[in-house]
């Protein structure tokens, strides 16, 4: 107890030195929490947008479909498989799709298009398709109509409630043809999707292509991207050999690559930050050792065991470092919270990707507690590791030499 009291007094013997140390730790924690929450907020947002945009977090296909996206690579819908997938507690939704190509015609124009047969409700739960409707209304179950992307409607010079004619190749070489009223228009940020996509109900699509009860994919939603690999692995083992289970990372490798590069550069920034506080803390520790060398020699001379002296220094560092970290975390909370409520807009490469897919390049900071925890812990460990230096010096201290002037 008296040792703790002495440690406390020692902490305040040189107020400015202690404050410098604590400030270094304090700012290090705030800045690194901020870097990491912003970084994570950006990517969380990016991932959320990307997956809800079209791909979902995961898809199940017939093996080989991703490499050769044709109807003959479809599989039979299986309520049992759906139940099995939904049984996984990380999975929050599943939606079947039948996708294929067709030629779409109006009176004078014919264009190639992507026909996506969906289950309206489930699809909306995962990709929020309803929110993309700009004109008309969203599909009901058993709706005979279709949703047309705006770009495609312009190219075909078609309007709401007009009729569109589709011709294509059906399942196993059958001919596919049909006439559909346009029930609504949807708008995608991605020009690619906006210029060629057309949605109809799953049963309409199965009728059109003669692919009764067939699907090209199950689109799967997840509670948290962190569970992606684990959940994919468990679905993969449950589904068996004839299926392929792909994560959005496998389906959109360019986005993953971008995140990797960006993460690497922010790691470097954090590394530099850590290095700076190392110098700051180490400098004050050196100062302290010079200032207290004589006194430490004297203490060992009169009979203070080195282990006690080390304990004293340890208590001093723990108090200083821990309180710096805690203050940093406490001050970081409102800052991060503010940046969550008032998201910053970015420019640069990330913003470009966003704009390419039609999202606003605006990034709320992630308020996940894990940033406070890990960054606080990293700085804490750095601070405590550095404060081993004076302790190591004490183990080598010779009172006679320490007290020589």
């Amino acid at each position: 107890m008296w040792l703790i009291k002495l440690a406390w007094k020692n902490i305040w013997r040189n107020r400015s030195r202690t404050l410098i140390t604590m400030a270094a730790i304090f700012f290090a924690v705030i800045l690194s929490v901020l870097t990491s929450s912003l970084q994570d907020g950006v990517f969380d947002n990016l991932v959320k947008n990307m997956v809800s945009f079209y791909s979902g977090y995961m898809q199940v296909h017939k093996k080989g479909y991703w490499n050769e996206q044709i109807l003959d690579n479809s599989f039979e819908a299986s309520p049992r498989a759906e139940q099995q997938i939904l049984a996984n507690k990380n999975i929050t939704g599943i939606s079947p799709r039948l996708e294929s190509f067709a030629l779409a015609s109006s009176a004078d124009v014919t264009k190639g298009c992507l026909v996506v047969g969906i289950s309206p409700e489930e699809e909306n739960n995962i990709t929020r398709l309803k929110e993309k409707v700009t004109e008309g209304s969203y599909l009901r179950d058993d709706d005979p109509g279709i949703l047309l992307s705006e770009g495609l409607s312009k190219r075909l010079q078609l309007h709401l409630h007009d009729t569109i004619v589709l011709i294509g190749q059906g399942y196993h070489g059958a001919t596919a043809a049909g006439k559909y009223p346009i029930k609504g228009m949807v708008k995608f940020g991605s020009p690619d999707l906006n210029d060629k996509t057309l949605f109809m109900t799953l049963s309409s699509a199965q009728d059109l292509y003669g692919a009764y009860n067939m699907l090209t994919s199950y689109v799967i939603a997840l509670n948290d991207n962190r569970n992606l690999q684990k959940t994919a692995a468990s679905i993969r083992s449950g589904m068996g050999e004839q299926y392929e289970v792909m994560t959005w990372e496998e389906m959109m490798p360019d986005v993953v690559q971008h995140i990797r590069t960006d993460t690497a550069s922010s790691r470097i920034i954090q590394g530099i930050l850590y290095l700076l506080i190392c110098f700051g803390i180490f400098g004050t520790l050196l100062m302290m050792m010079v200032e207290r060398k004589f006194e430490m020699g004297m203490l060992v001379a009169i009979g203070m065991k080195k282990i006690k002296l080390i304990l004293l220094l340890l208590i001093e560092s723990v108090i200083t470092v821990v309180s710096g970290c805690l203050l940093g975390i406490m001050a970081g909370v409102p800052v991060v919270w503010y940046l969550n409520r008032h998201p910053i807009s970015l420019s640069g490469e990330t913003a470009d990707i966003y704009e390419r897919f039609g999202f606003e390049p605006v990034f709320p900071a992630s308020t996940e507690g894990v940033h406070f925890f890990t960054q606080g812990l990293i700085v804490l460990v750095i601070g405590l590791l550095l404060s081993l230096y004076p302790m190591i010096k004490v183990t080598r201290l010779k009172p006679v030499l320490a007290m020589k002037r």
């Binding site: 060992v300 009979g303 006679v400």
Partner: protein, 242 residues
Amino acid sequence: MQTVIDAHNVSKVYNADTIPVYAVNNVHLHLQKGEFTALVGPSGSGKTTLLNLIGGLDKPDSGHIIINGVDITTLSANELINFRLKNIGFVFQSFNLIPVLTAKENAEFILQLQKVHKQEREKRIEVLFKEIGLSDKLNERPSKLSGGQQQRVAVARALASRPQFVLADEPTANLDSGSASNLLDIMAQLNKEEGITFLFSTHDQRVIDRARRVITLVDGQIARDTAAVPVTHETIVSNEKP
């Protein structure tokens, strides 16, 4: 009479591999309980080195130092720390005290190291501060005390732990003559009334005059050791000449 310090053939050599300096050269020294002894000699004669050896702060290159029956040259570093805590009181030339603790806490510190319980600590400190005449400065920090007062607190701390003897390396070197003589008064009184054994080094003739035994070192060897014949100013001056 009980022997507290018994040094045989003690030598300490610095720079053994280049130009050896025999800081302490083959010294024999016996100190009885209750002695009040000054260690004198010119600068560089080995006073500090000898005191460090006797105090177990440094190891001799040869010889044995037996304190209260224990050969301290055979103790490990950790055993030595413990031995010093239990047996030897130290007063250094300056900066004896922990600046962040009050006078009382500084004296109490060594008792806390010895795990003496609170009541006993309070009792000893009260008595000691009365003896050093600083009962009214108990709660002052060292920076608020004069150099002489600080040295008196250091003496109180050295005595609080009830050591076998007190070693003091030039305890008056940084004091004005008034404070020096006051410190000597207190030390002499503690020696006379409580039988505390003191061994101190000094350059100061007035301090030497107060000693009951004077050991003169020259070039690491004992040139003179007298309890009976008081050492005069002339002998010191002549010792300081090359």
